[in-house]
Each structure stands twice: as structure tokens, then as C-alpha cells.
């Protein structure tokens, strides 16, 4: 994210720090910071925050965002699960499309101009495996590519290229991203080659959060376990930052009960308001794999899927209301995604099978109200093989958010997403007006850079070694080592250069990885024609 020039910034990028807050696992990209800094630096935070809501299992988008204009085809394709036309929730000024009757919260957000609905988001050659499709969405790869980094992780790597050397520095002591509700997410994985160097310490949160973790027994083992947990907790000043942030917010708006997503979003609002400079929060809910009994046969507007959509809708509405209450609504933008939608045609078990494209919600006070795209085309007499083709590539959503909300310039965008994607008017693009400065690029200790970047054929890599064995590898976006320009002993420390001649290699993203004994740093480079 580009910052406004009057704001200083620096963010530790890398460590995965799974832990638990209020019973939810929290995963954060963090670095250490003194407790005192947390307590003495309650600066007013003005930067942008993105909340990513993962709907695990493959959400039935067709019953969530319902095509009113082609209702007949919709009903015929899935009569046993179709929502009755008279129950569909209307959108102000947009008659073609409506929402599932359980989503009164989302309807209200739309009507309050805080919601954009993007139709039929997917990608070419969709994959129908939960795991593989999830990895595609999280990595931002093509369907036939295996990329082991996450789109948000790569974004962080371009913004904070020197991490973790010289981090934390005084300007940004907080986790870069926090994940609540799950332990592992490829989304937040930076280039694997440089993310492994930071501290991963789930234990540090155990004492902080007071539940779910196995208590240490009153035995010598328990005694030592408690000791190690205590050190871990103290070591991780990030935990102290979170406590301080949480403590700084005595009152929040109302959230629905027995709603796990709401519980997670409540933590997010609290941490944002509490002053954490964290940019990305990941939350999630599961259960969308509705192969059977998706609806009640007597009334298709209720049932299991309806409960899920109500949970989602109520939670997001409560969250946005709370953001308004807390005065942070102009800083928060959110999106929902699921690994795939479901089949157009329902099955005979009152459910739907794995499908392809599905709608996404983009919510926030700065979301552009509207429905992006048109209702999906539903063939008359849909067969079991019919899927919704994508109108928008999911990476267009990422690109639009990065560009319009985090103010990422075009070449960097291409470095993160490997290609250029269509920019969509889903976020108020005035968000980036006046953003010029880029202090993050020089924050920390720069060990490896290249110039020019982007480059056409040859670029010069400049690197620092502390002496001893030093390695520079050129790695492609799929993680393959393409060249090893440096692999030798240095008798003393110093700054050196080496040219990378890309020859006939295709244009695209390449990473220069520096390994100097126990230190690593990765520099993304963009080859253009």
C-alpha cells in the first residue's frame, strides 16, 4: 500500500504467527516491538484496511445473488432448491438482481451504498477440487500453474522488500496481516523463499487469550511448558501490541450471538479501532459444501444454506455498523470469496454440486454501490454439466483492490499478480489521491536490489553479504530455480553486483533470492518486453 506522504510507515512482513484470540486462531505477519511503544504511541491511524472473508466449501452463488431477470431459467434449472421469486430481496434501483431472503443485512448495506456485487467471478478452466481451487484463489495462479505463494503475501513482499532485515523499525510495530479463524492460509504466504526466516510462535498467544489451548498440567512437563510459553509470550511483543489495541476499545456496537463470523469480525473492528496498523485481516466460515439438504423442502428460503447466508449477512452488517460507530468505516474495505460456486442444476438430494464462477461481495463505505456485470446466462433446460462461466477473473478483483484501495502502481501490480488484469470500478478511486510517498521501500536493511526494474533483458543485482557463503538464485514464479549467479565464499563483508541476463526467458516475474548463512532476502523483478 502506498501511504499518504504525511504518514510514516513500516511494516514487518513475514512471520506466520498462528495463535488464538477470543477462541479464534490468529495468524499474523509480524515482528517484535517494545511494549512501551505500544502503550505510548496511540497514534490516530488513517490507513486502509482490507478484510478478507473466506467462505469455505464452495458457496452457492446462484442462490445468494439471484437473477430476477432470468428467473424462469433459474427456477427450471433448480426447482427443488430455487428461492421463490416473491421472497427475493430487492436492491434499490436495480431490478435485475436480488438477494437471498436471509440476507437483509447485505440488502441494507447495498441500499446504504456500501456494497458492490460482482457477478460471476472465476477463472478459465475452473477446478472443482476444494483444495486445488482454494490454492488457486489464494495464490492467484492460473488453473494450470502451481504457485506456492499467496497474492497478499506477494503484495506485502513488494511493499516491504527488506523485511525482515532491520525490522521492526520505529514507524510500524504491528503485524502486517492477521488471520482469525484458521491456522493456515496460502493467501498470506509471501514468497516461500523469504518468509521462512521469521518467528512463528503460536504459543505466545496462549496466555493472552485464556482459552482453547491445552492447559499445562501440574507436572515437571507442565512446569517447563509454562516456562517456554512465558518466554514465547514475552519474546513476541506483538502479543502485547494486540493486548494494548484490544484494551484501548472499551465499547463496540452490537453483534449477533452464536455467529462465529461475527465474533471474528468483532475482533477485527476492535483491533483496527485500537490502533493496530495491520493492513489485512483474514476471517472465515465453513460449511458451504452443500451437496445435500441445502434447503428445507417445505420452504426453500430456509435451511442450511439460508442459515449460513444469514450468518454472513448479519455479521458483515453488524461489523459495518460497528465500524461506523467506532469512526473507522472510511478505512475499512472487505470482500468475500469462496473456492468455487455450485452447479447451475441442483441435484436430487436438495443440494448442489461443485461448480464454477460465483458472485463476490465488496463491502465498505468506500465501495462503489452497484452490481458489476450482468446476471449469469442460464441455459434453458440446464444439464448436470452446465456451469456458470466467469465474467470477471478473480484476479481483477485483487488488482482493483490493490490499485484503488492500497494504491499499488501498475508495474508493481503486475509483479504481484504476474499479469495485467482488468481494473474494475468497485472501490472509490479517490482513495489514492495525493498518495506520493513510499517510505516502506527503504525501511529496514536493504540486502538485495536490482536495476533497472522492470527490465527487458539484463538487470544488475546489487547485494550485500556479511561474508562467508553467499548464494543468489533466480527463481521463477513457480518456484523453479532458473539460474544461480552467485554461490561462493566471501572472505569479507561488502556490497557486490552481478548481472542477471534473462536471455530468452519469457517475460514475467522472477525472484532474486539472497541466502547468506542464516539470512535470506528476496527481490521480485519484472521482465517486460
Amino acid at each position: 500500500m502506498r501511504r499518504r506522504s504525511f504518514l510514516k510507515n513500516s511494516i514487518p512482513a513475514a512471520a506466520i504467527l498462528p495463535a488464538l484470540v477470543d477462541g479464534y486462531t490468529v495468524k499474523a505477519f509480524h515482528a517484535h516491538s517494545p511494549l512501551m511503544q505500544a502503550l505510548m504511541n496511540p497514534a490516530i491511524e488513517t490507513d486502509h484496511v482490507l478484510v478478507i472473508i473466506q467462505l469455505s466449501g464452495g458457496n452457492d452463488g446462484l442462490n445468494m445473488v439471484i437473477p430476477i431477470s432470468t428467473y424462469g431459467d433459474y427456477f427450471n434449472a433448480r426447482s427443488n432448491v430455487a428461492i421463490a421469486q416473491n421472497k427475493i430481496l430487492k436492491l434499490d434501483g436495480y431490478a435485475n438482481t436480488g438477494l437471498h431472503p436471509a440476507m437483509t443485512g447485505m440488502q441494507a448495506l447495498y441500499n446504504q451504498k456500501k456494497l458492490n456485487i460482482v457477478q460471476s467471478v472465476g477463472y478459465p478452466q475452473p477446478n472443482f477440487s476444494h483444495f486445488r481451487a482454494t490454492d488457486i484463489w489464494m495464490s492467484g495462479s492460473d488453473a494450470d500453474q502451481v504457485v506456492n505463494t499467496g497474492w497478499a503475501g506477494r503484495y506485502l513482499n513488494t511493499e516491504y522488500p527488506n523485511f525482515p532485515d532491520g525490522y521492526p523499525n520505529t514507524t510500524m510495530p504491528d503485524p502486517l496481516a492477521i488471520q482469525i479463524g484458521s491456522i493456515a492460509s496460502l493467501t498470506l504466504q509471501g514468497p516461500a523463499i523469504n518468509m521462512g526466516m521469521s518467528i512463528t510462535n503460536p504459543t505466545s498467544f496462549y496466555n493472552l487469550i485464556n482459552n482453547v489451548l491445552d492447559p499445562a498440567p501440574n507436572t515437571p512437563m507442565g512446569h517447563e511448558l509454562t516456562y517456554i510459553r512465558t518466554i514465547a509470550n514475552q519474546t513476541n511483543a506483538f502479543a502485547q501490541r494486540i493486548i494494548a489495541a484490544a484494551m484501548a476499545v472499551p465499547q463496540q456496537g452490537a453483534y449477533p450471538q452464536d455467529n462465529s463470523l461475527a465474533d471474528q469480525l468483532k475482533i477485527v473492528a476492535r483491533l483496527v479501532k485500537g490502533g493496530l496498523k495491520t493492513r489485512i485481516y483474514m476471517v472465515g466460515m465453513g460449511g458451504f459444501d452443500t451437496h445435500s439438504s441445502q434447503v428445507e423442502s417445505a420452504d426453500t428460503s430456509i435451511g442450511f444454506h439460508a442459515s449460513l447466508l444469514k450468518e454472513l449477512s448479519d455479521a458483515v452488517k453488524a461489523f459495518m455498523d460497528d465500524c461506523q460507530f467506532l469512526g473507522i468505516q472510511d478505512r475499512v474495505m472487505g470482500l468475500t470469496f469462496s473456492e468455487f460456486g455450485r452447479r447451475i442444476k441442483s441435484n436430487s438430494s436438495m443440494g448442489t454440486d461443485h461448480g464454477a464462477a460465483a458472485p463476490m461481495f465488496i463491502f465498505g463505505a468506500k465501495a462503489v454501490q452497484g452490481v458489476t456485470g450482468t446476471n449469469p446466462t442460464i441455459p434453458g433446460g440446464a444439464s448436470v454439466n452446465d456451469n456458470i462461466p466467469h465474467q470477471y477473473d478473480f484476479r481483477s478483483i485483487y488488482a482493483s483492490i490493490l490499485e484503488r484501495w492500497f494504491c499499488v502502481p501498475p508495474t508493481t501490480l503486475q509483479t504481484i499478480l504476474f499479469k495485467n488484469f482488468q481494473s474494475l470500478n468497485i472501490v472509490d478511486n479517490k482513495a489514492c489521491t495525493g498518495v506520493t510517498d513510499d517510505p516502506n521501500q527503504s525501511a529496514g536493511e536493504q540486502l538485495i536490489t536490482n536495476y533497472p526494474n522492470p527490465f527487458t533483458t539484463t538487470t544488475t543485482i546489487k547485494f550485500k553479504t556479511k561474508g562467508k557463503h553467499t548464494l543468489i538464485q533466480i527463481i521463477d514464479m513457480l518456484g523453479r530455480v532458473i539460474q544461480t549467479p552467485i554461490d561462493k565464499e566471501y572472505t569479507q563483508s561488502g556490497e557486490f553486483t552481478v548481472d542477471f541476463n534473462s536471455g530468452a526467458l519469457p517475460s514475467g516475474v522472477y525472484y532474486a533470492r539472497l541466502q547468506n548463512e542464516q539470512t535470506q532476502q528476496v527481490r521480485p523483478m519484472l521482465k517486460v518486453r
Binding site: 466449501g57 483444495f131 512463528t200 517447563e224 511448558l225 517456554i228
Partner: protein, 551 residues
Amino acid sequence: MDRRDFLTARRKKAPAILSAQNFRTQSGLTPYVGPWTRNEVQHLLKRTMFGSTKADIDYFAARTLDQAINELLNPVAALPAPPLNDYSEDVPDPGAPAGTTWVNNVSENDDINEGRRFSFKHWWAGVMLNQDRSIREKITLFWADHFGTETYTINLGHFIYRHNNLLRTGGLGNFKTLVKNVTTDPGMLIYLNGFLNSASAPDENYARELMELFTLGKGPTVAYTEDDVRKAARILTGWRINPTTALTTFDPAKHDSNNKTFSSYFGGATITGQTGVNGELETDDLINMIFSKDEVSKYICRSIYRWFVYYTLDAAAEANVIEPLAAIFRTSNYDIKPVLSALFKSEHFFDVLNQGCMIKSPVDQIVGCMREWKVAFPPVASEYQDTYNMWGYISDWMGTMGQDIGDPPNVSGWPAYYQEPSFHEIWINHDTLPKRNQFTDSMIMSGFTRNMKKIIIDPIPFTLALPNAGDPNALLSDTLAVIYRVPLSDTVKQNLKQSILLSGQTQDYYWTNAWNAYVADPTNMSTAAIITNRLKSLYQYLMNLSEYQLS
């Protein structure tokens, strides 16, 4: 009856040896006859070796407890081949060409010896990484801690190696013999100035440590005097090193041949001064006199206890374990194996209260981690330079985490084994704990690459060796049964399974299908990535939990 209830009940009957901490135990050296399951095997292996691989556990689970301990205490594998010259790119060594061993070549050149010192450390890390199924490597490190020497001070490579070899070959033999051999070992003679000790100018350095650190220890019942130290120093005068042969010699001209009379602690004993070559016999007399004190056996048994059981030695452990163990030590005339055997076969060793409470030393953490995950190193036979580079990377990490093998902080060894009251907790601090995490993170995420060779934790071979990796519940339990000593609750395991292996899904078959797809076509990049990403996340997470630091 719950074991601890039982112990509490017993405690009421025997208040005289009440534990200092309420969670300590009264159990003693009575042979253990309880369950002998993979749990007990794993406990035994984590304590006697560096890490417990699944293959190791399989192997010993197929044996009885007695068989297992007897095998662990009686190594049959050949001694490791000696260290090779891996430094000739930096320093040519005419006495030992690249790729050959330098241990039989005497060189006084500082640059060459620096190369040899590091070669030795790389080699030692490699020996531990390639340990056989015995206690040999752990007991070698134990003695290296007990007889603390520093390669930096000894400096001469051939003496460094010979000292280490002495500990490895004698570490399971007779302790009294070991003390005698260490006393006249060239490395030790250099390290504690024994080779300068002369009748005209006695040097007390070795005499003091011989009593204070190597045999008697310190404490309320150990009452040797400063004068005893001086007398012992005079007895030890005359030991020299022949610079040509690099062998220890005795120089009668430097020996103090007066009689030496000791304090009442030694019963006022007089060691008769000897002249000529017989002067060296006084050293045997001195060692015999020291070993006449029961404190020697107790002191050594306490050290063994702190290395292999736990560091808290309360009155109960003293009475129920140390005293009888020391008696065994004396009865066996200071043979080491009977002591280890009695300890490892005891109720006390297998007491649940003594399981999972050992904070791993850096060596234990690193070597155990590499072994348990089956990290593949380049073969030393064909690629010694690459192998030594990797071993060097590993030994560097040991130093980074606070255990620089070959160079403990001083003659006392590593503080984790003697520094009251923290002991093993000293290994874990605000500097070293993040480094432990950094090490495991980097080993599983990116590994270490040099000269086109790479060491990395590949989660696949480990997982393939599990009996039922297609079942995510079994995968997790079976993994924990190799790498963890601290049990995780079902709740935590379910969370890990669902969050990581199932990517948030609730049905186990999603993992099963993904795993089966991989097994059916291991060359498919896409299915392999699905499996690898999730396993890496899981294993990385497990290695970052505090539980992983305990064995």
C-alpha cells in the same frame, strides 16, 4: 488409581523424603514393569539419542525393554571415520590433502589448525546426524560437557580430535579409567596447563578442576582444602607432550618427588613421592585416593541424572535414585554402563512425571529435527565437500542457539547442566527461542542451498512412512507420536486437522482423496503441491508450538 494419587498416598507414609515440589515423585530404582508401548520407547529414545525417528521407534518397539536398553548401551556400529580436510580451498594443508583425514598429521600452523578445528565441528555434527541406534553420541556429548574443553584453546586439530575420540571410545567404559586417560590426554594437558606443571612452578589449574568439576564436585559434604589442591598439583607435575610424536610423556625432571600429605577429608593420607619414571604412578595414587570418596559416585550420578532425567534433584530423588545409583557405581568399580542400565530400566526413569519435561538442548533440537524429518544430506563418500558444508551449516546453528560444539563457555561446560536454579531453562531465552523457530521455519520453508545441493525438510518422505497418512486423524496422531512428547488434546488436534489438512472443510475424505491422488501420481505437480503445502503448514506449526521444545 491415578498414579499421582498413589504417590501422594505413599508420600504421607514417608514424610522424611518428601519432594520439594509437589509434582515431583517418590519413585526409585525399582525395575520398571509397566507398559512398554511406543510411548515408552519414544521417551527412552528421546533421552538417550538425539531425536527418535519413526524407524527407531519401530525397531525398539519390536524388542523388550531390557533388550532395547542393552542395545542402546552396547553400540555395535564401527566408530565414525575421522574428519576430512574440507578447508583446503582456503588453506592448503600439505600434511593432509583435500578430502583426506588430517587427524594423524601433526601441524603447528595456526591457519591449518583453524581449518581443522572447523572441519572437526562439521564432522562432529555429521557424526551426530548419522548416529547409530545407541547412546554413544549422546554420552559422548555428555562427557564433552563434563570434561569441558575448548577447541579454541587446544588449537591443535589432532589433539582436538584425539580428545573427542577418547570420550567416544571410553564414554561407556570405566569412569576411573576415563579420568586417568583424560588427565594425561594431550588436549586436556594443553587446555588446563598440565603440560606446564612443574616442580619448580606447580600449576594448580588441572588439579583444581579434577576435584571440583571432574570427580568430587562441590557441596556441603565435599571438604577438600586449598592445600589439597596444591598437593594434587604437585603430584601431577611432570606430564609433557612430545612435540614430534604428539604423544604424552612423563618428564621425571619436572616432577615433584616429595611426599604429599592431604587433609583430614582424605583421612590425612600421604601419597609417597616417587622419583624417575615412577613419578607418574603418583597420578594413579591420586586418582585412587579421590575415588575412595563416595562423593565421586554421587556427583557423577547427579550429572547423569540432570542430563537424562530432569534437573530437579530433591531429597526424594537424592534418596531414592542418586544414593542407590551411586552404590551401583561403586560396586561396579566405576563402570558406567551398570549405572546407566539401572537408571534407564527404573520406575523412576519411566515415571510419567519424568516424561516430556526435558528442554531440548540446541544439539538435541537440531539433530533430532533433522533426523526425525529424514532430511537428506549429500553423501559424504562421493561429495565430501558438499556434505561438510551442510554439516557446517548445521553446527553453526548449534552455536547460534547457544551450544557451540567443541567450545562450551568454559571448563564447567554448558550452564544448563549446572547453573542453579534455572538449569535447562537457560537454553530457552528471548534470544534463543526465536532462533529455534527461525531454524525450523527456514528448514521447512526454504532449506539451505549451497553448490547446487540443498538440505530441506521435505514433508513427503516422512509422511509416506506413516502407516495411514490418508486418514488425517491418524496422520496427525502418528506424527505427534514421533516428534512430540507432550500430548495434545483432541480439541487441539481437531482444530489443527480441520484448519490445515482439511482447509476448513469438515469431511476427512477431502484429505484422503487428496492424499490418494498424490500417491497415485506423485509426479503430478498440482496434486503434490496440494499435499506439500498443507503438510508444510502443519509441520511448521507443530515445530513452533512450545511443546516441540520438550523431550
